[in-house]
């Protein structure tokens, strides 16, 4: 598992990367009430605003962590946004993307690095 400074986690499954937000991020956001996901087939450029997530408090954007293409989105969290608080690092993944250059993942933090990052 890799982690971004935007509090996303990235998990490699074959040639795709699964993207979600960390438990720390979900806790900071508070109760999630709305999620808007990208379209399957959408081309992503790193740092594109790709997901909108709204909690009881505020709206936040999730940025694309890498260049690539969306292969699957998790409609379950659109229908039940509360799942993001219940299981942010499991069932409540956001989207999967095909990434051409998997070596780009090496730039991100590992779990120990992320734990240091959030203090």
């Amino acid at each position: 598992m890799k982690y971004t400074e935007e509090h996303e986690w990235l998990r490699v499954e074959g040639d795709v990367v699964v993207v979600g937000i960390t438990a720390h991020a979900a806790e900071q956001l508070g109760d999630v009430v709305f999620v808007e996901l990208p379209e399957v087939g959408q081309t992503l450029t790193r740092d594109d605003e790709v997901v909108v997530i709204e909690s009881v408090k505020a709206a936040s954007d999730i940025l694309a962590p890498l260049d690539g293409e969306v292969t699957e989105v998790n409609d379950a969290i659109v229908n039940d946004p509360g799942k993001v608080n219940e299981d942010p690092e499991g069932e409540a993944w956001f989207f999967k993307m095909k990434v051409e250059d998997m070596s780009a993942l090496d730039d991100f933090m590992d779990e120990a690095g992320y734990k240091d990052f959030i203090g």
Partner: protein, 372 residues
């Protein structure tokens, strides 16, 4: 954080694991471990305890104090019976709203509660206008203010003093709780039944702990306080009402008793009486309304409202908006042109560059649980 004021319950908030935020100059709990959603739902299902000690408590005492206060607000103060409370607002010379408030007739004085962010200016305003009339304006700085809200509030508080059962909505009384002299009103700002309790600061924490010891009571932060009042259709000063909105536009005419309106025995005589009464007669060009987004996306404060999905004209904007946990969907309030203000009118709120459907809706979104 040392520049922020602390309420007498500050240490209790920290011990309960509250997330603290600066609010109106105070370090206040925005939520506890339960989180905003569950705190909101718990208040509507059972009872919630709120620290509202940051609000301003003021005693007005002197000759003809009711008539004196009537020079500042468009409410019927003189006709308010002893042991009764009313909602009101300070108006500005051009007809805006300088703050909203609660005022109570406590026999030999009036007891006023104003918003935290406005209290210094409200106190200065009252002093300037009322002291020349021989009225003493005395801020109460040695008392906390605790709200207990929800359908179980009566049963819980009656455990400390059964006399609170006999109070009706907007009654006020002096009630002994844990041996302390408390000034209790049957009111609140959640749309639920409940009480607001002015308690000597030394007894604030023991009283809060005694109430929280009841399984039916949870501590509730400012986050849920905001979503509760929004579902209740209640205005938040500085957002839904301010110096640029008149009481007529804000749909608060119900809180201006007939005796103060044109043709009443004590008509006018408050700041902005000319423009406000003229607007009441002619009708306002815009009105505060409830709004229900049709999708799941919340429409927040500042969202512009249009009369068409593309093109068209901007007809208003949202002043408060978010997710309504009890409604189970986004809810909002805002101002729209009178022609667009009828219930069920379809409008479009622009969110992240997209116009999304939203319908004008009756307020409140959740029926009030007051004990009349």
């Amino acid at each position: 954080m040392s520049d922020l004021y602390r309420t007498p319950l500050h240490a209790l908030h920290l011990s309960l694991g509250a997330r603290m935020v600066p609010f109106a100059g105070y370090d206040m709990p925005v939520q506890y471990a339960l989180g905003v959603m569950k705190e909101h739902l718990h208040t509507r299902a059972a009872a919630g305890l709120f620290d509202v000690s940051h609000m301003g408590q003021v005693i007005l005492r002197g000759p003809d104090v009711a008539a004196a206060l009537e020079t500042l607000i468009p409410q019927d103060v003189a006709g308010l019976g002893e042991g009764r409370q009313r909602y009101g607002f300070f108006t500005t010379p051009d007809g805006g709203i300088a703050d909203d408030l609660m005022f109570a007739n406590r026999g030999d004085h009036l007891f006023v509660v104003v918003n935290a962010a406005c209290k210094d200016q409200d106190i200065a305003h009252m002093r300037a206008a009322l002291e020349p009339r021989g009225i003493a304006v005395t801020p109460v700085t040695d008392r906390a203010l605790i709200a207990l809200q929800g359908p179980q509030a009566e049963a819980v508080l009656a455990g400390l003093n059964p006399s609170v059962r006999d109070m009706a909505f907007m009654d006020v009384a002096t009630v002994t709780l844990l041996g302390a002299e408390c000034w209790v009103s049957r009111s609140g700002y959640t749309g639920e039944d409940g009480y607001e309790i002015s308690v000597p600061e030394a007894m604030a924490e023991p009283l809060a702990k005694a109430l929280l010891a009841d399984d039916r009571v949870e501590a509730i932060g400012l986050g849920a306080r905001d979503s509760l009042r929004l579902e209740g259709g209640l205005c938040l000063y500085g957002h839904d009402i301010d110096t640029t909105t008149t009481p007529v536009e804000a749909a608060l005419v119900w809180a201006m008793q007939k005796v103060r309106r044109a043709g009443g025995d004590r008509q006018g005589g408050f700041p902005g009486d000319g423009p406000i009464l003229a607007q009441l007669a002619a009708g306002p060009a815009r009105k505060r309304v409830g709004l229900r987004p049709e999708g799941r996306a919340p429409m927040r404060e500042g969202t512009p409202l249009f009369d068409a999905e593309s093109g068209g004209a901007q007809v208003g904007h949202i002043t408060s908006g978010g997710f309504g946990p009890t409604v189970g969907a986004p809810v909002a309030m805002g101002y729209v042109a009178t022609a667009s203000a009828a219930a069920d009118t379809l409008l479009f709120g622009e969110v992240r560059g997209k116009r999304l459907p939203v319908r004008v809706a009756a307020l409140p979104f959740v029926p009030a649980g007051f004990k009349r």
